[in-house]
């Protein structure tokens, strides 16, 4: 009897290996662009810090733009997380077409430090958004757009 049970188990494992391979998959993906954005609040003083000081502290910005009569320096890190589940039954050997269903959730978050400089190259205002502090599932399924 013990032998029969084991044989059955072996058969199940082999069948599962053959049949489930590629039929049910769960995918976890992550994409990161940019280095960690550090915000040295004590060293960045509005009305005092110069462009030269900001560049020596933070390095080259990821984006530079003209915003009205000011210049914007943006330091940014992008984080993308995606989870996907796919269930499919490959029937192409028997009939035309396959049955499959999949569901996925993608969340892109940004850590962004925006520094605005006036034409005298003095920091006029700054803002920091830490998107990475928001948890994946709760943020993905929250009602907030």
């Amino acid at each position: 009897m013990a032998f029969r049970i084991n044989s059955l188990l072996v058969l199940i494992i082999i069948l599962a290996n053959v049949l489930l391979s590629g039929c049910v998959t769960y995918q976890i993906a992550k994409y990161v662009e940019g280095d960690v954005v550090n915000v040295p609040n004590e060293e960045l003083e509005v009305g005092k810090t110069t462009l030269e000081e900001a560049l020596s502290i933070l390095g080259a910005p990821d984006k530079v733009a003209k915003v009205g009569v000011e210049n914007l320096l943006l330091y940014e890190r992008e984080l993308l997380y995606r989870n996907r589940i796919k269930v499919g039954i490959p029937l192409s050997e028997l009939i035309r077409g396959n049955l499959s269903a999949s569901a996925y959730g993608t969340l892109v978050r940004y850590d962004s430090l925006a520094l605005f400089f006036n034409t005298e190259d003095i920091l006029s205002h700054k803002t920091f958004a830490e998107g990475s502090s928001y948890p994946y599932l709760r943020t993905l399924f929250s009602a907030q757009q």
């Binding site: 489930l20 080259a60 190259d121």
Partner: protein
């Protein structure tokens, strides 16, 4: 009995671990050397001198009090691992970036340098 357990273990391991691993690297190359910054003097050097040393910029941005020339190169490292039921994918993209700021007379006022391209790593999503 031991043989059966051994066969079962091997089958389970091959079932669960069958798959493959792929790693890849992309490089968007721009041949600038940060050591050449020593040749430039803010307040004296011009945009022409900058382009003679560093070549054509990746991007030119018009600013409120001048222009910015952006030099950028990128390294991307990707890791994908397929198992029977699970697939992991991880891509990390990092940049080396050099930004020169010029006034309206095309004189260099400031520059900023970030060297992060080497920080790109292979790995799994955490």
């Amino acid at each position: 009995m031991r043989v059966k357990i051994y066969i079962l273990t091997v089958l389970m391991i091959t079932t669960l671990l069958s798959g493959c691993l792929v790693i890849g690297k992309n490089k968007e190359f721009q041949p600038f050397e940060s050591t050449e910054l020593d040749q430039l003097v803010p307040g004296e050097s011009t945009a022409t001198e900058v382009t003679e040393i560093f070549g054509a910029p990746s991007k030119v941005v018009e600013l409120a009090n001048g222009n910015a020339y952006v030099y950028k190169r990128t390294v991307t490292k990707g890791t994908v691992c397929w198992l029977v039921l699970l697939t992991f994918g991880n891509v990390e993209k990092q940049h080396d970036q050099l930004v020169f700021f010029f006034d309206l007379d095309d004189t260099l006022t400031h520059y900023g340098l970030s060297l992060d391209a080497e920080k790109a790593e292979y790995g799994f999503p955490d």
